[in-house]
Symmetry: C2
Amino acid sequence: MSAQIEFYFDFISPYGYLGSLGIEEIAARCDARVDWRPMLLGVSVMRVMGLKPLGETPLKGPYAAHDFQRCFRLLGVPYVPADGTMAPLPAGRAFSWLKDRDDELAVRFAQRVYRAQWSEGRDLSSASALAELGRELDIDPDALVKALADPAVKARHRERVDESLARSVFGSPSFLVNGELFWGHDRLAQVERWVETGGW
Amino acid sequence: MSAQIEFYFDFISPYGYLGSLGIEEIAARCDARVDWRPMLLGVSVMRVMGLKPLGETPLKGPYAAHDFQRCFRLLGVPYVPADGTMAPLPAGRAFSWLKDRDDELAVRFAQRVYRAQWSEGRDLSSASALAELGRELDIDPDALVKALADPAVKARHRERVDESLARSVFGSPSFLVNGELFWGHDRLAQVERWVETGGW
């Protein structure tokens, strides 16, 4: 049986995007399966940990803004973020809704959202922008818009975010391999080693 | 002329210890010089950034406690921390005092402090413990104890900590190469690449 990697991500996180690219490469090399699972930095960092958002943290905020560009450049991934701060909740809910219907489609949707948000400068904070993007993957735009207003979809997404907290996930990206949690796209080499060797 | 790497560290930081080991290996490979410079997480994280200490941060604190052990194990470095929380200021001041007298000795002292604190379980929070350790390097214990009580030594160390903030250093370890700041021992590969190629 191939190894399974739980990949926790927030669409608001550029490092999450880089992590998503890296973990799929590792999965391909190691014949592992990636289970994409949403988390929310707004809940873990601000509500549970009681910290400021990264962008509003003195010293670390400006460092991260510079580091995003440097990391993207190193990996050859275009860094063209949308103006302003993304509201990641609608995209997360859309992902949760899709995941319960077609996990493979949900992953392709998430990959498309990440690329559009961070490499194509498209603001995906709204239901209509997400519906427009979903069209490219033959996702019914009306059904997506309707799902985003559905209290059951919101509750299901909240459940998933609670699940991420129950697994002690606090940052994006995070990776869970056989109960072992790794945080940060700069830990991908450790994740790969853990997948390959079963630990050290 | 060989490249210069400014290495910022706090003795309280196990990641700083791992960073110190890694950066000296890189310097040897790249024929670069490492300039060891003190910083204080208590000032940058708590006072300037307004965050909690790592150990007291929900989710991230327990994660880090586990991650320290995992990272040390991976690198084959014994992880035997002293009981309780280290008070890093005396060791930092002792380093600053030595640095103004004999930079090479200051580095050997810092390396010895790091190893004793994180691999040998020796609490180096006090002047007497530092004096005892300094003996191994032929540092006059009475002179060291006297220096630690000297307002001029305290002021000089504060100056260095202020310098680290002026360079936007907030975490331990941090590395500054040609004006480019890198934070975290997990960024050593990027630091080495920057030293070798002059950037990307």
